[in-house]
């Protein structure tokens, strides 16, 4: 097993001076290749803020993030985008599919940004993998929540990312559909994917191999 991600004493402060608020207060984590980790915590505990920093969407105020042995704090915005594009697959609570694109076009987006050829074939293949081959040309508005999240998972897989980051992937779904999505993530994990998931739902958290708990910006 090789280490793919290391956070050491990562902190995030929002605002300046009197109104400054430290949302993440010194988090250190390492994640190995092929792990399925859940970070649990109540709403407002700083989970999303932490996940955004791990996914290179945000920069820590202090501390360091090392991705695949590379310190990312020195990267510029475009280099972060480049790395994010190839290394990170995002799955969001509210799916965040673009409404004016079909399922397939949505899945193609990360590959377009990676300037990859053969995006359409790969998109069809991925949609088949999540059981949605027949909805390839459907628009998100015509799909159920579970279907949308599966399209989002196919999109997250598009560039063969180093790891998947899921921010409350079942948060907007009923418990049965949520369980199906968790089954899909577990399946991907068995297939070798590294998954980092955040949730405030015990039941969801229990599906992971390893559970970390965050409270008030600190791991406990």
């Amino acid at each position: 097993m090789s280490e793919i991600l290391r956070l050491s004493d990562v902190r995030k402060k929002i605002g300046e001076g009197e109104a400054a608020l430290e949302i993440v207060r010194g988090v250190s984590i390492t994640i190995q290749q092929g792990e399925f980790v859940a970070i649990m915590g109540s709403s407002g505990s700083g989970k999303s803020t932490l996940l955004n920093m791990i996914g290179l969407l945000d920069r820590p105020t202090s501390g360091s993030i090392t991705l695949m042995g590379r310190d990312v704090s020195s990267l510029g915005d475009d280099e972060m985008s480049e790395l994010r594009c190839r290394a990170v697959g995002f799955i969001f609570q509210n799916f965040h599919l673009l409404p004016y694109l079909t399922a397939m076009q949505n899945v193609c987006l990360p590959m377009d940004y990676a300037r990859k050829a053969g995006a359409a074939e790969r998109a069809v293949e991925l949609l088949g993998k999540v059981g949605l081959a027949h909805r390839a040309n459907s628009y998100p508005a015509t799909m159920s929540g579970g279907e949308r999240q599966r399209v989002a998972i196919a999109r997250a897989l598009a560039n063969d990312p180093v790891f998947l980051l899921a921010d409350e992937p079942t948060g907007a779904l009923d418990s049965r559909t949520g369980a199906q999505i968790m089954n899909l993530l577990a399946e991907l994990h068995h297939g070798g994917s590294t998954i980092l998931l955040i949730t405030h739902d015990e039941k969801v958290g229990r599906r992971a191999e390893k559970t970390l708990v965050i409270s008030d910006g600190r791991l406990v």
Partner: protein, 397 residues
């Protein structure tokens, strides 16, 4: 990738048709105004060119004028006409005369405007013949009562059959209609006539021989190789008899010169219109910028998502720039297209006296400017979009 930007832009335009059309409207109006003015500009230029390429480009207009200093007015008489005819270099002279006559047609009597025309008149102003023939030199010389009707008048007076060869009554005098002229609005400009005449008759039929008859304008045609400036001087000195007191009483001007001055005057008037149109184009650009700003704000979350999926700053920047360029270029293209259609319609319906034509080069320039406006208008909104922090953009509600 560029295809994707294009696709996205078109999809979004389709999704918000009203907004798209409204934002294009500003550009549309600006470009339409601009290209309509350019078309008029071009029309004038071609008018002048028409005159230059006329067989008798060396046409001079001699007119009596009023001298404010001496309170005297020049006087042109039939005798002057005969004198000018003998000037070296002068091919023919003709008094410009017009009057109206009541002509009896097939059904009723109608008042018709007549213009004097000699044999040269037809070739100088390139008047096409539709039926019959033009005047014969003999007919003009011996002042026979012959007439040529313009097409519209021929149709009005003789709706049932062709008037060629018929005798018509003009207030007691009998004229033979020998031909029908195809008149177009262009000819009015070329001959500097205020309106389309109903018919043409030899000058002698209208002109009375009394020596005190005063002529308003004498048209002289010189041989094509004669020098324009020298010819004007020669005519002027002949009519003033080189007497200083008469110098200010006559004006000689070549038709070319007269039209040039007129065109320059209207062109400078158009130039100020051009400035107004340019301003409206800028206003249109501001409209596009406004729509793009709204769009960027509305799609903050989308920007966040795209960045999360790996979009770089340039990807976002280009996407919004392509969008604003398409908005303004579509507005511009449709505007040019409709002005083009309008010009064709105006010409074929005979509404315009000018050969309206959208000039290709300035139009290309116009389109380039439109695209540039799209770029400029999109630049600020697009760079704002591109600079957004992805985490903040995703949090945006």
């Amino acid at each position: 990738m560029f295809r994707n930007y294009l696709l996205t832009a078109l999809l979004l335009m389709k999704q918000k048709p009203v907004r798209t059309i409204l934002s294009m409207l500003g550009i549309y109006i600006g470009v339409a105004a601009l290209s309509a003015i350019l078309a008029m500009h071009e029309g004038m230029r071609r008018n002048i060119e028409n005159v230059y390429s006329t067989a008798g480009a060396s046409v001079f207009m001699l007119q009596p004028i009023f001298d404010a200093d001496t309170q005297q007015a020049g006087q042109l008489t039939p005798a002057d006409l005969n004198m000018l005819k003998t000037l070296p270099g002068v091919r023919s002279v003709m008094p410009r005369l017009n009057l109206s006559r009541k002509i009896r047609g097939q059904k009723d009597v109608q008042e018709v405007g007549l213009v004097a025309a000699d044999v040269d008149f037809f070739s100088v102003y390139r008047i096409p013949l539709k039926a019959g023939r033009f005047f014969l030199p003999e007919e003009v010389r011996t002042r026979q009562n012959v007439a040529i009707l313009t097409e519209a008048t021929a149709r009005k007076l003789f709706p049932l059959s062709s008037p060629v060869g018929r005798l018509v009554d003009m207030e007691g005098k009998t004229f033979e209609v020998v031909g029908i002229a195809g008149w177009s609005a262009d000819i009015n400009t070329r001959a500097r006539l205020d309106a389309e005449p109903g018919g043409l008759v030899p000058p002698g039929c209208i002109l009375t021989e009394e020596p005190e008859t005063s002529l308003q304008l004498i048209e002289l045609r010189t041989s094509p190789d004669a020098d324009e400036t020298q010819m004007a001087k020669r005519i002027q000195s002949a009519i003033t008899r080189d007497e200083p007191s008469r110098r200010a009483l006559f004006a000689t001007q070549s038709l070319r010169e007269a039209l040039k001055i007129e065109a320059e005057f209207s062109q400078s008037a158009l130039s100020s219109l051009l400035a107004i149109a340019a301003i409206s184009l800028i206003v249109g650009g501001i409209g596009v910028a406004n729509v793009m700003l709204t769009s960027v704000t509305e799609r903050t979350r989308e920007i966040g998502v795209r960045k999360a999926l790996g979009a770089k700053r340039n990807d976002i920047l280009l996407q919004f720039l392509v969008e604003s360029c398409i908005l303004s270029a579509t507005g511009g293209l449709t505007a040019i297209l409709s002005v083009w259609v309008g010009c064709k319609a105006a010409r074929s319906l005979g509404i315009s006296t000018m050969p309206l034509e959208i000039p290709p080069l300035p139009t290309l320039g116009c389109l380039a400017v439109t695209a540039a406006i799209g770029l400029l208008a999109g630049l600020y909104p697009a760079s704002r979009a591109a600079m957004r922090s992805p985490a903040d953009a995703l949090r945006y509600e």
